[in-house]
């Protein structure tokens, strides 16, 4: 489970649509041991201090020797990343963090995956891992165009339901609204929920799941300077005190978090 730092050759780095990009690199040392929910720290520029720090990105998929990332260009770092070309070397560290708990208690589980916006990124890898359980996947975004990866989930045999705030695709409203309506229909029989997305979404899910007594695992974000547990910058408040999102997370049982 040890982390590796090195130069990974870029295999492809292409725009999916809008500001969303898919990056694939050769990184056998990472892909061989990566678990869904873990992430990598990427030095977007070859060297140099603009930006200075690495960027955390969830592991979107891990195949033989290969690793893929899915990212949205939102600022300087992801902008530079989007300009890197196949053949170039990308300095990455990973796999980092704990990953989703898909442990022994999963027998007979009926997992639900809930993604808000870019929260889909790490859930594709998870869905592949949980394939045998044919997970139900709920994907929400602001607009229909922001809904990513529906096909990938379908390809994993998942049942997929969509939502968009503006109703341009799927359920009209937040993905938490979709989740609630699924609960109301009562047919999911869900035994465990995995979620990744903006904090308000995770907070609302945590309330809903607590009410229903369904265990919920959330993947959190925090500003990360190191990503390896050294700087203590990525603290999140839990009922047992501050924890490091990068090392003790990024996945936490929702019940542990002070929302």
């Amino acid at each position: 489970m040890s982390a590796w730092q090195g130069n990974a050759q870029i295999l492809s780095n292409r725009r999916i649509r809008g500001a969303y990009f898919h990056l694939s690199v050769m990184a056998a040392r990472i892909s061989a041991v990566a678990k869904p929910g873990q992430f990598v720290m990427v030095k977007v520029n070859r060297d140099g201090q603009e930006p200075l720090l690495r960027r955390p990105l969830g592991i979107h998929n891990a195949g033989v020797g290969r690793l893929s990332l899915l990212y949205e260009v939102i600022g300087k770092g992801t902008q530079i990343l989007s300009q890197r070309r196949p053949g170039e070397l990308l300095d990455i560290i990973g796999p980092l963090g704990n990953g989703f708990d898909t442990g022994p208690r999963m027998r007979g589980a009926r997992p639900v995956l809930v993604a808000g916006g870019m929260g889909v990124a790490p859930l594709v890898f998870l869905a592949r891992k949980l394939k045998a359980h044919t997970p139900l996947v709920l994907i929400g975004a602001k607009t229909g165009k922001g809904i990513l990866c529906a096909e990938e989930f379908n390809a994993c045999g998942c049942r997929v339901r969509l939502s968009s705030d503006d109703g341009t695709r799927g359920f009209k409203g937040k993905v938490t609204g979709l989740f609630k309506s699924m609960l109301r229909q009562g047919k999911t029989g869900m035994t465990v929920v995995y979620a990744c997305g903006p904090r308000p979404m995770l907070r609302e899910l945590s309330v809903l799941c607590r009410q229903q007594g369904i265990p919920l695992q959330v993947s959190l974000e925090a500003h990360m300077a190191c990503g390896i547990g050294a700087c203590l910058g990525c603290a999140v408040e839990t009922h047992a005190g501050y924890r490091r999102v990068c090392k003790d997370g990024p996945v936490f049982p929702a019940a542990e978090i002070v929302w």
């Binding site: 030095k43 200075l52 720090l53 300095d91 300077a225 390896i228 050294a230 203590l232 603290a235 501050y242």
Partner: protein, 310 residues
């Protein structure tokens, strides 16, 4: 030629001058995957307080031009847990361990810490962190000050700790002062064996969209390459006036920047923020320094320390 890389800081013998800065290397274990820890000159621990500290609320770091701000708030498990859970692994590395210590409110806590650590063989030296910008110690003229912003307070504290321990004492100073030499002088007179220069500059950064500070605490400590010219200047200034070895830090990111500190007058250097960017950078600097000496046919690293050309 095998150039000599070893240096001495107080009674602390280092096989090479490359240390890692407090708070930027965890308790070393976080870096075990990335480098051979025993290649380092020494490791400095995250600052330890008597009691455990939970630290500041999240929103603790942000990026700035060629630097970063942090406001960790000295989160640490406290002395007892440190000794029980962290020190044994640090000791096993087999290099000198420098324990960084600070008080939370009462300067007397420094004495508690120093006395306890004094008896522990695995601790090679003590670094007094009297300069953490996230903790204000005492008020002078109604305004809050750090101990290391006041020569008299610095003198008194170092003097007291000096009596409490025979270990090598390294006093870590804040750059947020009018005259670093005056503070360094106070530390020397009080019996400090060495100085660590510099801790972070106090800074602030606002998110224009929300108009909020990027750090929840508002202000925090600026580190990284951005502050390097300030660090080099202070080390050079102190070196001109104070006969104490200096552990230099502040924006070191590679061999060349490490050399800048040694030439300016640092006997050893500490790598801080750069560990986050490249976890292997400290040992890359060890090799880089060696290669530099070989290339330049300089037999001993000590021949360049403080040797600024004219």
């Amino acid at each position: 030629m095998q150039p000599n890389l070893s240096v001495t800081v107080g009674r602390l013998r280092l096989k090479n001058p490359v240390m890692v800065a407090s708070g930027t290397f965890g308790y070393a274990e976080e870096f075990a995957d990335f480098l051979d820890l025993k290649s380092l000159g020494a490791v400095v621990t995250k600052t330890i307080t008597v009691r455990p500290r939970t630290g500041n609320p999240p929103g603790r770091t942000c990026e700035t031009p060629a630097g970063m701000l942090n406001s960790i708030g000295l989160e640490n498990p406290g002395l007892d847990v440190f000794l029980k859970e962290k020190l044994p692994a640090l000791k096993r590395i087999g290099i000198p361990v420098v324990a960084s210590i600070a008080s939370e409110k009462d300067p007397a806590e420094f004495l508690v810490l120093a006395r306890r650590l004094d008896k522990i063989d695995a601790v090679a030296a003590i670094e007094l962190n009297i300069s953490c910008p996230n903790i204000r110690h005492h008020a002078a003229s109604g305004r809050q000050r750090l101990v290391s912003q006041d020569p008299a307070a610095t003198y008194a504290l170092v003097k007291a700790v000096r009596k409490a321990t025979g270990k090598t004492l390294i006093t870590k100073l804040s750059p947020n002062v009018t005259d670093i030499v005056e503070i360094a002088q106070a530390a020397r007179k009080a019996g400090s064996d060495a100085l660590s220069l510099i801790n972070t500059l106090t800074g602030m950064s606002l998110e224009v969209k929300t108009r909020k500070p990027k750090l929840t605490t508002g202000i925090g400590g600026l580190s990284g390459p951005a502050i390097r010219p300030v660090a080099v200047r202070m080390i050079w200034e102190v070196r001109q006036h104070i006969a104490l070895p200096i552990v230099g830090m502040g924006g070191i990111i590679d061999t060349s920047s490490a050399l800048e500190f040694l030439i300016a007058g640092a006997t050893a250097i500490s790598v801080g923020t750069a560990n986050f960017v490249n976890p292997r950078v400290s040992i890359e600097i060890v090799s880089g320094l060696k290669a530099y000496l070989q290339e330049q046919r300089i037999p001993d690293i000590r021949h360049i320390i403080g040797r600024v050309g004219h």
